[in-house]
């Protein structure tokens, strides 16, 4: 965790992931760029079909090569991953970059013990013996807070509770001390108290090992808890980027505004309707023209000349902060001022 290290550990540039399906080409990710430093956490927020999960499967090279076209560059520690040979990627996966998934029960093999599944990664990448791998698995289970790891190591996933399974997944992902960890909605299926445990665990482990984390979620509350930087995705594109404080405290894109204001809070007013975002997420088979959010955006009409429907807004990033929207800064300030005023009434 050196702050002097100015080289991003992971650098994604103009990533485009397109699937060909029977109905046409799905533009799941359409021009996405971001950097991630060692030891930092990037939170990616988005709803279903925003391209957030596809992005991360593509970083690992787990997309189906037959039906997917990937353009752009994915550089991990200076090494280009897009188009890298399968052998190279296999060597990196689970070793230098690892992933944990949302549904731990489905994501763990039902036919093998937890210990075997953790140990197998260690044996593959570190050339360890069966005995060493088992010892390492016990050590990892202890590290992620599973009681009696010596006996639990021989259990099958279905014998674990939901929270313990997610801990086991984390142990499996971290067994080779990866430098990049991608967590795809790791707490969404969990109860809040368990979610809190798992997030504390991830933060502890990050402090200890200096892992860079990409944390994918739809829950801005989780983002507030864990992320350093935030990337908001909509319809396969990044609509807003910035530090956690910037994005949550002074959001700049109407979609982010919508996400924040549509959620009830534990201390907000109760007898007023919520402010939902109208409509539904876009189809990536046939995405809206111009700004992909414009059909649902309450501010599209404030922009002159129907620009939102015609012209795709450019994401300009200065000092890691930016948003892709045609609204002017004045219009934004005006909205936020109105909002603050409304809250005081």
């Amino acid at each position: 965790m050196t702050s002097t290290d100015q080289q991003p550990f992971l650098s994604v540039k103009d990533l485009k992931v397109h699937f060909s399906t029977e109905d046409g080409v799905v533009k799941a990710v359409d021009g996405l760029s971001f950097d991630l430093m060692r030891g930092k956490t990037l939170g990616i927020v988005g709803e279903s079909g925003s391209g957030k999960s596809v992005t991360n499967l593509t970083i690992l090279g787990l997309h189906n090569p037959d039906s997917t076209s990937v353009e752009g560059s994915i550089e991990l520690d200076g090494q280009e991953l897009n188009g890298a040979p399968e052998k190279t990627l296999e060597h990196l996966r689970g070793n230098k970059m690892a992933m944990i998934f949302q549904d731990a029960l489905a994501s763990l093999s039902p036919y093998h013990t937890i210990g075997a599944q953790i140990g197998e990664v260690y044996r593959k990448h570190k050339g360890a013996s069966k005995k060493e791998a088992r010892e390492r698995a016990v050590e990892m289970l202890r590290r992620v807070g599973i009681p009696q790891p010596e006996s639990r190591v021989d259990n099958y996933p279905h014998e674990f509770s939901g929270g313990m399974r997610q801990r086991a997944m984390i142990a499996m992902a971290l067994v080779c001390d990866p430098e990049l960890l991608i967590a795809d909605e790791p707490t969404t299926a969990l109860d809040v108290t368990v979610q809190a445990q798992i997030m504390d665990l991830l933060k502890d482990l990050q402090r200890e090992f200096g892992t860079a984390i990409i944390f994918i979620t739809h829950d801005l509350g989780v983002i507030a808890d864990i992320a350093d930087e935030v990337l908001v995705m909509y319809g396969g594109r990044c609509v807003e980027r910035g530090t956690k404080k910037e994005v949550l405290s002074s959001p700049r894109h109407p979609y982010t505004w919508g996400l924040l204001s549509s959620m009830p809070s534990l201390d907000g007013p109760v007898d007023v309707p919520l402010n939902p975002i109208p409509g539904s997420p876009p189809s990536l088979l046939n995405p809206p023209s111009g700004c992909r959010f414009h059909p649902r955006c309450a501010f599209a009409e404030k922009v002159d000349g129907n620009r939102c429907a015609k012209e795709s807004p450019v994401l300009e990033i200065t000092n890691g902060r930016g948003s892709a929207c045609h609204l002017t800064d004045e219009q934004r300030t005006e909205y936020l001022a109105d909002l603050t005023a409304a809250k005081h009434h």
């Binding site: 690992l60 787990l62 037959d66 399968e86 296999e90 060597h91 990196l92 996966r93 689970g94 070793n95 690892a98 992933m99 998934f101 549904d103 489905a106 994501s107 763990l108 093999s109 039902p110 036919y111 197998e120 990664v121 593959k124 990448h125 099958y156 279905h158 997944m169 499996m172």
Partner: protein, 326 residues
């Protein structure tokens, strides 16, 4: 496992009792009198009564059934034949031979047919299915899939005579089907059954190809397969370590059922290749109203079906740790 086996074997015994009882009842529901048929043209009531007595069908139905059951466990006295040692399945109404030895005579043919063809169709079916799954969507997959569709719509009585004609009579590539004891001469045993094995396998292979392919394709989309790939496992490794196991369980279940069917006697196959197996024997017994023979065949073949099912369930439990056998 022990509890599972005890429970299942007990259940199986009860099932067999029920099957035999039903067979017993159904037999008497048929409006034909075996004694009358055995009695011939010059039949006096006295002779008829004597024949009835000798056949053991002059008593009430439950009593007859009781005699039959006790005969299996303790043996029984037959008026016309003397003592029949346990396990006694009685004597044929038709040729007065002991049922057990007749079945024992025929059964090896059926078992050899079933197991031999099973080995062939499992190897080819699962192999082709795996290949098709690996090469999903590619030419090889399409060839395997269409070939299996064609093969599965074939029928024994069509393929059998064709095979006989070309492989045996016309070009003399293989031997005429016949049954030779395995223990006497394994080579001629295999030689004699090769044609029926191949024909049976051709038809059954197709099912297993399609099933293996679809199971594997489905398993390959499972989240845990994706996880394995995210851990750095190679495609090949994932395939053999994870996907295969997930696909196996349903295939074994179906195989258990199929094996039961095959052991029950493949009548048409036996008929086509003139092999004296259980299938033909049961057809003949139905035609001649031969109750003891029918009951014997019923009990023996259903035992095999039931045992095959228990074995399948046990294997299932070994493959999938989520299934607790109790």
């Amino acid at each position: 496992m022990f509890r599972f086996l005890v429970r299942r074997v007990l259940g199986a015994v009860i099932t067999l009792f029920i099957i035999s009882a039903i067979t017993f009842m159904l037999f008497y529901a048929v409006p034909r009198d075996p004694a009358r048929m055995a009695c011939g043209k010059l039949c006096t009531p006295e002779t008829l009564q004597l024949i009835r007595h000798n056949m053991g069908i002059d008593e009430a139905l439950p009593v007859q059934y009781w005699h039959w059951i006790t005969g299996i466990f303790l043996g029984r006295e037959y008026p016309g034949f003397g003592h029949c040692n346990a396990p006694c399945l009685g004597y044929s109404f038709v040729n007065r031979e002991p049922v057990l030895s007749t079945i024992a005579d025929r059964f090896p043919t059926t078992v050899s047919l079933a197991l031999g063809s099973a080995v062939v169709f499992l190897i080819f079916g699962i192999g082709a299915g795996m290949l098709a799954a690996v090469k999903q969507g590619k030419a090889l997959d399409k060839i395997a899939s269409s070939a299996s569709l064609i093969a599965s719509s074939m029928q024994i009585y069509f393929v059998g005579p064709l095979a006989l004609y070309f492989l045996v009579y016309q070009f003399h590539i293989l031997d005429q089907p016949s049954y030779n004891g395995f223990l006497d001469d394994p080579l001629s045993w295999a030689n004699g059954l090769l044609v029926p094995w191949l024909v049976l396998a051709l038809i059954w292979t197709a099912n297993y190809t399609r099933m293996t392919r679809s199971q594997l394709v489905e398993t390959l989309t499972e989240d845990y397969v994706r996880t394995a790939r995210a851990k750095g496992m190679s495609r090949r490794n994932v395939f053999f370590r994870f996907a295969w196991r997930g696909a196996m369980a349903p295939i074994i279940t179906i195989f258990g059922i199929d094996l039961g069917t095959l052991l029950g006697g493949a009548m048409i196959t036996e008929y086509t290749f003139s092999l004296q197996g259980i299938g033909l024997l049961s057809v003949k017994s139905v035609q001649t109203n031969d109750l003891p023979m029918l009951l014997g065949i019923m009990v023996i073949t259903s035992s095999f079906v039931v045992i095959a099912n228990i074995v399948v369930d046990a294997i299932y439990g070994l493959i999938d740790p989520r299934i607790r056998l109790a």
